[in-house]
């Protein structure tokens, strides 16, 4: 039976204890991280929901970083001190000998001995200290991302700024199908169906992180509704999120290329001077679904000879088979799929009859050209 998840997001009521927590963390600036962690293990002087506190602490520890402050590299100090101690004599004498060779005070030598260990690094405040309400939003983002790690399937209904969101999903290589909304508002938005980390057999952690990263882009759409089927402690659960929910938004997505795409564009231009490569062509409707190809490849002398190319990120044979079936039903056979060997999420064989170019790290333009030659289709 479905159990609705109330993610217990932080809101204005949580601001007082967040302020206390931030002041407490800030008090440890310039002190070893070990001391801060020890303090955070003890309760705050006010009542705080444990789940929310855990998220807020995790966010704070990402913002208040710990850094090494040492005039001499600690490994050099250790070598000098422990070699001096090997020769016998009292502890103070060994420190004295080492301090002379390092030209430092004995007290400084002792301080630097383990200064590079994770717990000994000194806590430093971020350049811009966030407000408590800002920290609440960041904590909420972390909560949602951690819940999505347990997702089986995620559906995002979105209106406005669909393309940038799809682009972000594609850049992260998510297993994603885009369809028109069922209520016929085709021009207004789209529905993204994403596989959750629970359905992939390999790269689960990487995939979960990539899926979670998508959430911060949702506030930039005109309207969204996220519905995720999760498995929490072996129980089915549902996560619902929509526009207006207090989630920390990232900066508006910038138009940028993935290194893979940029490199392919460069390599292809060099290897195939007779072909034009067009970035981000118009989306293609395939029945109820929408496909967002990465490139259109068109022959300069015979412009009717035109193909679409899509770079697939994480993939499973099932996902590709399903996609190819839809393409075949829509009689689209000029789409070439490029799949990354490293991002296979299952051990199944790829469909044999498909026009698929496999690659490792970089897409070889010659392999793509050979695939084009095998496709006589003219569009």
């Amino acid at each position: 039976m479905d159990r609705r998840v109330l993610p217990g997001l932080l809101d204005a009521r949580d601001v007082p204890w967040i302020r206390v927590l931030m002041e407490e963390v800030d008090r440890f600036c310039g002190r070893p991280l070990r001391e801060l962690l020890e303090r955070l293990r003890r309760p705050l002087p006010c009542a705080v929901p444990a789940f929310k506190l855990k998220a807020a602490k995790a966010v704070l520890l990402r913002l208040w970083k710990s850094e090494l402050c040492a005039e001499v590299a600690p490994d050099k100090v250790r070598e000098a001190v422990f070699s001096a101690a090997t020769n016998g004599g009292p502890r103070s004498q060994a420190l004295e000998t080492a301090s002379r060779s390092l030209r430092l005070e004995p007290s400084v030598v002792e301080k630097l001995l383990f200064a590079d260990l994770p717990g000994e690094r000194l806590v430093s405040a971020p350049a811009t200290i966030p407000s408590p309400s800002d920290l609440a939003l960041r904590s909420n983002l972390l909560i949602v991302r951690s819940l999505l790690f347990h997702a089986r399937h995620v559906r995002i209904e979105v209106e406005g700024a669909v393309r940038p969101l799809v682009r972000q999903a594609k850049l992260r290589g998510l297993l994603c199908t885009v369809t028109h909304p069922r209520d016929g508002r085709a021009h207004e938005g789209a529905v993204l169906d994403l596989s959750g980390p629970f359905t992939v057999f390999r790269h689960t952690l990487l995939y979960g992180r990539a899926l979670g990263e998508l959430v911060q882009f949702l506030p930039h759409t005109a309207h969204f509704r996220l519905h995720a089927d999760c498995v929490l402690r072996e129980q089915e659960a549902t996560l619902e999120l929509q526009s207006g929910d207090p989630i920390f938004p990232c900066e508006a997505p910038r138009r940028f290329d993935s290194k893979l795409e940029a490199r392919f564009a460069k390599d292809f231009a060099k290897a195939a001077p007779d072909w034009d490569l067009l970035r981000e062509p118009e989306p293609v409707s395939v029945g109820a679904t929408i496909i967002f190809p990465d490139f259109r490849i068109r022959h300069r002398l015979r412009p009717t000879r035109s193909f679409l190319l899509e770079i697939v990120g994480f993939w499973s044979a099932d996902y590709l088979r399903h996609k190819l079936t839809r393409l075949r039903e829509a009689q689209i056979d000029h789409l070439i799929l490029c799949v990354d060997d490293e991002r296979g999420c299952s051990d199944d064989e790829l469909p044999a009859d498909a026009c698929i170019v496999r690659f490792h790290r970089r897409i070889d333009p010659q392999t793509v050209l050979a695939a084009l030659e095998r496709r006589p289709t003219q569009v």
Binding site: E79, T86, A94
Partner: protein
Amino acid sequence: MVATLLDRHRASRTIVFTADNPTAYAISRAHLIMPLTCDIKRKERERVLSLFREGTLRALVSAQVLNEGLDVPEAEVGIIVASSRGEREHVQRVGRVLRPRPGKHALVYELVVRATTEVGQSRKRRSALAA
């Protein structure tokens, strides 16, 4: 006790085994012995082991890094400070010191707190070692 043993075997190459990293660092600070833990980078660990082999360093303290996989036939004395670990790990630790070398005479100390469960656990581990 650790201080007494380290002092007694100052001329020998000694490894102190602890249960966790904080104990290893505490012993390291107090007795100025090089610690070998997961926090110490691989490059430095390798340099330290080579200094230990050539005798520039004569004592090391380790939580788990030296339990398995590293060969230190030069070690002559082992001081096991943490005795709460299992039989397999105990065999590994003792094995570090018992690595054969011509003319080598190895000694292993296990420190336990009198009138605690540590005594029984230690006896059990030693019987497993003898078997």
